[in-house]
Symmetry: C2
Subunit: 211 residues, 2 copies
C-alpha cells in the first residue's frame, strides 16, 4: 500500500496524527519531572527522548509548546533542571494519564499517585517508583523553525538505577527493569530480548553475545 504526499495531505486530521506518529517505530516512554521556582511539581510523558552523545553525556527531547508538556518546558526554563524517569509496564496507565490537561496547580504526582523523590544536586523531582531515573541540567533549548517544536538538550548529572539491571560492560538490561516501549500516541508494549550482537566488522557475520 503506497501513500503519496497527496494521500497524506488528504487524511482527516486525527487519522493523520495517528498515522504519522506511528511511522518512526517503537519509542521510549519517559516521564519528565519538573517543578517551578515555588516548588509546584509537574510530570509529563514524553516519547521523544533520545540519546545525543556519551561524552559529554547528553540527551535530547522534543517538546510541543502548545500541548500538555507546556508546564514542563516553562519549569525547565525557570529552574534549568528536570528529571527523566523510565516508565515500566506497571506504571504505564499512570504515565499516560499525565498527558491530560491538568491546571498548573494540579500536580500530576497527586493526580496519578506517583511519588516525588528528591536526590542530591537536582532541583526537579524524580519518581520514586521508576527503576531508572536521570537527573538533567538544561544545556540548550532551540525552537525548530520548521514547525516551532522545541528541541531541549540537557546534560546528565546523575543516574539512579536498580543495580540488578546493570551488565558488566555498562549496558543496561531494560527487560529486567520491565521498561515499556511505545507506539504512536497510545500503544504500550512489553519487550522481550531476541539477542545482543557483537560489534560489527566488515565481512564477518555478527555473533550473539551474552550480557
Amino acid at each position: 500500500m503506497l501513500f503519496s504526499t497527496q494521500d497524506i495531505d488528504d487524511m482527516p486530521q486525527r487519522y493523520r496524527v495517528h498515522f504519522i506518529n506511528s511511522l518512526s517505530g517503537f519509542k521510549s516512554a519517559n516521564l519528565i519531572g519538573t517543578q517551578d521556582s515555588l516548588g509546584q511539581t509537574n510530570l509529563s510523558i514524553v516519547s521523544s527522548v533520545f540519546h545525543l552523545g556519551a561524552d559529554p553525556a547528553l540527551m535530547g527531547m522534543i517538546i510541543r509548546p502548545h500541548s500538555t508538556p507546556r508546564h514542563t518546558l516553562e519549569n525547565i526554563l525557570e529552574t534549568g533542571s528536570y528529571t527523566i524517569n523510565q516508565v515500566t509496564c506497571d506504571m504505564a496507565k499512570q504515565a499516560h494519564q499525565t498527558s491530560a490537561r491538568y491546571a498548573k496547580q494540579e500536580s500530576e504526582f497527586d493526580m496519578t499517585g506517583l511519588t516525588p523523590e528528591y536526590l542530591p544536586g537536582v532541583i526537579a523531582p524524580f519518581i520514586q517508583q521508576s527503576p531508572l531515573k536521570i537527573g538533567m541540567k538544561l544545556v540548550e533549548q532551540e525552537v525548530l523553525a520548521v514547525n516551532n517544536t522545541v528541541l531541549v538538550i540537557g546534560e546528565i548529572v546523575s543516574v539512579c538505577l536498580d543495580q540488578s539491571a546493570l551488565n558488566q560492560d555498562g549496558s543496561i538490561n531494560l527487560d529486567k527493569l520491565n521498561t515499556v516501549a511505545v507506539s504512536g500516541l497510545d500503544g504500550y508494549y512489553q519487550a522481550s530480548k531476541l539477542f545482543r550482537l557483537s560489534y560489527a566488522k566488515p565481512f564477518k557475520e555478527p555473533e550473539e553475545i551474552e550480557d
Copy 2:
C-alpha cells in the same frame, strides 16, 4: 545505585558508551537508504529517528558524522533524498551488520543481502524486505554546537506499508509488522502489546481501547 557526574566521568570509555546509550530506553531501529549522484547505494542502521510533527509530516534523526553513517550524511546532502525502513526481527542481524565500516564502493545492500527497491518520486533506494518504508526529502540539517552531531530533518514524501498493519484510526500495528526495538548499541527486542489507552482527560482513568 546512584551515579554522580563524577562516577560517570570516571567510567572507562567503552563502559560509558554502553551505559549512556542505554539510558533513554527502547529505541526504534531504522535502516537509512541513500545513494550518491552516481548511483552508489548505502545503508546504515540508525536508532535515533524520531517523530517531529504530523502537519507538516516531519521526522528527525541524529547522525554522528565521524562514525559509520558518514556516507549516509554525504549522500543525503548530495541528493536531498533518503529512505527510512523499519527493521523487523528477521532483518535485525543484517541491519546490525550495516554498522561495520565498509568502504564507500561496498554497498551494504550487497554486503547484507538486502534488496534495493525504487519507488516513484524518491531518488534513494528503499529496502524491499522492510514492511514499512518511508521516502524522505531533506528539509534542514544542523550541526549541534554541543557535540557536533548533526540533526537531520526531513519531510515525509511517501509511505509504503503492509495494509494488514493499518488500524481504522490511522495508527499502525507495529507488532503485526514484527518491528524490532533496540536497547543501547546492540540489544534487539521483540515487542508484544500490553494495551492501547484512550485519550487522557483530567480526573478520568484511561481505558483500554481496541485497534
